[in-house]
């Protein structure tokens, strides 16, 4: 039986490459695609950006930066050319529209959140409790899928408006203030996101992402 078990192991290892047709995506490629997509569902304040490229900064995540660079050519965001910047130190951060902080870089995340506090940067983190460090979006992996959660409080502080469609795909949305049960009409109008929670469909992790997220 020990021979048979070893044979089973070896057979599995041998057959697999013969069958391999690469149809699965890497986590990094999906996250890079998300970063690109997020931009279309977020409104940055002010309008004097013509001519300046849309910057997606990546801190300490060379694989994500590489995937972004492969994905970005030929695409524009809000009619601006897209530039991917790899950042090695928080002090080198300029004023990117989006900042992705690599997984596990908690200290850098806190530093980035405070350094970018006066600016309007969409900070995307990739770790447990990333939102409490000050990011606006945080990636989660649930049942072999990359999902994300949103902090509307952080979005408000960064003067970013987040579309309800993005909120609808999120796994969790943390409100800027406590949510009441009344409809949107009874609340004063402030950040678009507040009311959007009412309309957002929460998807249980593990359920197919296509349902209930609105037509795309």
């Amino acid at each position: 039986m020990s021979g048979a078990a070893a044979l089973l192991l070896a057979a599995g290892a041998l057959i697999a490459p013969l069958l391999a047709t690469a149809e699965e995506y890497s986590e990094d490629a999906v996250k890079a695609a998300y970063l690109y997509r997020f931009a279309g569902y977020v409104d940055w304040p002010g309008g004097e950006h013509r001519g300046r490229p849309f910057v997606i900064a990546v801190f300490d995540a060379p694989d994500i930066a590489r995937e972004l660079r492969r994905l970005v050519p030929g695409h524009t965001i809000h009619d601006r050319a897209v530039e991917v910047e790899e950042v090695r130190a928080i002090r080198d951060l300029g004023d990117p529209e989006i900042l992705y902080v690599g997984a596990g870089r908690t200290a850098a995340l806190y530093a980035a959140a405070s350094a970018l506090a006066p600016k309007s940067t969409l900070i995307v983190s990739d770790q447990e409790d990333g939102l409490s460090a000050g990011s606006v979006l945080n990636f989660l992996e649930i049942d072999h899928r990359v999902r994300f959660e949103v902090s509307l409080g952080a979005a408000e502080r960064a003067h970013l408006r987040i579309s309800s469609e993005l909120l609808g795909v999120a796994v969790r949305v943390f409100g800027g203030h406590r949510q009441s049960r009344e409809g949107c009409e009874s609340r004063p109008v402030d950040a678009a996101g507040d009311c959007a929670i009412r309309q957002a469909r929460e998807l249980p992790p593990g359920a197919s992402g296509g349902d209930g997220a609105g037509s795309r």
């Binding site: 290892a13 697999a16 699965e24 409490s132 992402g209």
Partner: protein, 633 residues
């Protein structure tokens, strides 16, 4: 033959890699909702977060556990290369790290590990060991198991002498929906169900229940050891969180029974309730936790046994002071209230006690420069039977480059006396041959460690650490006096050092195949103090193999199939002696749809039966194969 396969495999792997690198184009065309639906093959990311950590840490991820084919938490612990897990019966396992795993000949049990489930300590205060039949969980609910070898006293708690095992379950918002799991095999059968729901935007919950039956192992002559057992368990967890605060309340209840030859069943039962509050901000992180725990084990017909009730309250705060200091401080109080029903041969006197274990600690992480962190901490522990002891800890972590870091640590830990060390009396008929003496000293350890971690490529991460443990006052058996042999008592007449290396690497060979070899090597240089009786010899501190190793292979096959296998090696045990052995666990799974997963797995596949601890201390562990259906509604 295996060696000849490797070049062929390598060529095929390279070809598969070349074919599999596209996809960026397709993804850029996908909507958010479509991206949320894409199945990804993930690379183990835990190493990135750990790069700068100044300790030997192996994180067993949720995926590793679920894909390995193991059926219990104790078996899942084998996935950590820095832990040694030895199965002795259908329900009993000995778990140790860095040696000194105990020796049943000397009634010495593996008693130097702290094991926590969601912050609740689960080692028994009666002798500091682990009852493996009380740590079952629904494996699907485990988020990760952090295995930290070495001293964890300052931050983690009492008894963290050789290591800390921190089992963390998933927040309920990650376990939504209905899950049904059925498993049947030649040895194990189980049924489990879990439902997760949402109360509102901020609060989620889950409830679960499972029941399993584990078949008996075999005795020396191949007949059944009659040690099969079954257990039913259920529990819940609720999580509430907003941007700043989070509250978790969780609890479990279990009851199991184990067959005993020629007798009715023995009983294990217990329950717990934990409440945890956390408030986080950019500068401060406050945690408060309280739990109640009750556990009992009784021999057949309500005979010998014990009940232990635990009440625990802990507070901890992490603060940033300026840009250089990050302080963690806190304290806690734990009350153990136990009652023992003594047998005629083994008595605890007094049979009931209320023990109090308190502690207060502080740790400062100083950022000396962008690449160097110095961590200094101390815990003051107030142990029952002994009083206040300082447990200092100093660590240095140096970031050598963007992908490599080195660290060094020096720390002190103790194993404080337990009721087994202080209160026990053992008799043979009317004669007391061992009477524990109330002057038992804590066992003491000064541990010196260095380590290095690197991630030279995104596909390769390595960890190497070395330790030198200087022990004092290890437990021995001493005669009553120079003139009188009986009664014996527990002395502290052993000391010495152990040293060794823990190393592992994680190699993502290509997008679908990951290999993780790991090895643990140990040398023990223990000696008796002058005047010691030397009864039962040096190996009473631990019947430890000088090396153990594992090789895990994880493959994502096309058509949503996976194949995982872990080969392990355990070196020869010195005394009582046992030959070295290899064993294999493997699992093949297929996800025909998003909701359904079918799998076939086996544990201990290489031999129809084998010993992990020699007769009479262990049964023969038999091969187990099983099929499982996991259905998400």
């Amino acid at each position: 033959m295996a060696v000849a396969l490797l070049p062929a495999l390598w060529d095929l792997a390279l070809q598969a890699r070349a074919a599999g690198d596209s996809g960026a184009e397709d993804l850029s065309r996908m909507s958010l909702a479509e991206l949320a639906n894409v199945e990804v093959t993930s690379v183990s990311k835990s190493s990135e977060a750990l790069l700068g950590a100044p300790a030997t840490i192996y994180v067993i991820t949720h995926d590793e556990i679920v894909r390995s084919g193991v059926a219990s938490v104790a078996e899942a612990l084998r996935l950590a290369p820095n832990l040694l897990v030895t199965q002795t019966s259908a329900s009993a396992y000995v778990i140790s790290a860095r040696g000194l795993g105990g020796n049943p000949v000397a009634q010495n049990f593996s008693n130097k590990l702290l094991i926590l489930i969601d912050g609740r300590s689960v080692y028994t205060p009666l002798f500091s060991g682990i009852y493996a039949n009380t740590i079952d969980l629904m494996l699907e609910d485990i988020d990760r198991i952090e295995v930290i070898s070495g001293v964890g006293a300052t931050l983690w708690g009492a008894n963290a002498m050789n290591g800390v095992i921190n089992i963390i379950t998933r927040s309920s918002y990650l376990t939504q929906g209905t899950l049904l799991d059925g498993l049947a095999g030649n040895q194990d059968q189980s049924l489990a169900a879990r439902y997760g729901g949402r109360v509102n935007e901020e609060a989620t919950y889950r409830v679960y229940g499972f029941e399993f039956h584990r078949g008996a192992m075999e005795s020396a002559d191949g007949s059944t050891a009659h040690d099969g057992w079954q257990k039913g368990q259920g529990g819940f967890r609720t999580d509430w969180s907003n941007d700043r605060d989070s509250v978790t309340v969780q609890g479990d209840l279990y009851r199991g029974s184990e067959n005993v030859p020629n007798d009715s069943d023995s009983l294990v039962a217990g329950g717990n309730l934990i409440a945890r509050y956390q408030r986080r901000s950019a500068t401060s992180d406050l945690q408060a936790q309280a739990y109640l725990d009750q556990t009992e084990q009784f021999a057949p017909a309500g005979g010998v046994g014990f009940v232990v009730q635990t009440y625990d309250l802990e507070l901890q705060q992490a603060l940033a002071l300026g840009s250089i200091h990050r302080i963690v401080w806190g304290g806690g109080e734990r009350i153990y209230d136990y009652g023992i029903t003594n047998s005629a041969a083994l008595l605890f006197l007094p049979p009931q006690r209320t023990l109090s274990l308190g502690d207060v600690f502080m740790q400062d992480t100083m950022t000396a420069s962008a690449d160097v962190n110095l961590i200094v901490g101390v815990k003051l522990e107030d142990d029952p039977f002994w009083g206040w002891t300082p447990l200092p800890d100093a660590r240095l972590s140096v970031r050598l480059s963007a992908d490599a870091a080195a660290w060094a640590a020096a720390s002190r830990a103790i194993r404080s006396p337990t009721p087994f060390d202080d209160d026990v009396e053992e008799k043979l008929g009317p004669v007391s041959y061992l009477v524990a003496n109330r002057r038992f000293h804590p066992e003491e350890l000064w541990a010196y460690e260095v380590g290095w971690r690197a991630q030279p490529a995104s596909t390769l991460s390595l960890s190497l650490s070395s330790f030198y443990n200087a022990y004092q006052d290890l437990r021995t058996v001493e005669p009553a006096s120079a003139t009188q042999f009986l009664p014996l008592y527990w002395g502290n007449s052993m000391r010495g050092a152990t040293f060794g290396v823990d190393a592992w690497l994680n190699w993502q060979i290509n997008s679908w195949w990951r290999l993780s070899p790991g090895v643990s090597w140990l040398r023990e240089r223990l000696e008796f103090k002058p005047g010691a009786s030397q009864l039962l010899g040096i190996t009473q501190a631990g019947d430890d193999p000088s090396a153990h190793a594992s090789l895990a292979s994880s493959m994502n096959l096309p058509r949503r199939m996976t194949f995982d296998a872990t080969l392990r090696y355990v070196g020869a045990l010195p005394d009582p002696a046992l030959a070295h052995y290899y064993e294999l666990d493997a699992r093949f799974a297929w996800r025909p749809s998003k909701a359904l997963e079918l799998s076939v797995s086996g544990v201990n596949l290489l031999h129809e039966r084998h010993y992990e601890l020699p007769v009479p201390f262990g049964e023969q562990i038999t091969r187990s194969v099983m099929a499982e259906v996991r259905w998400r509604l």
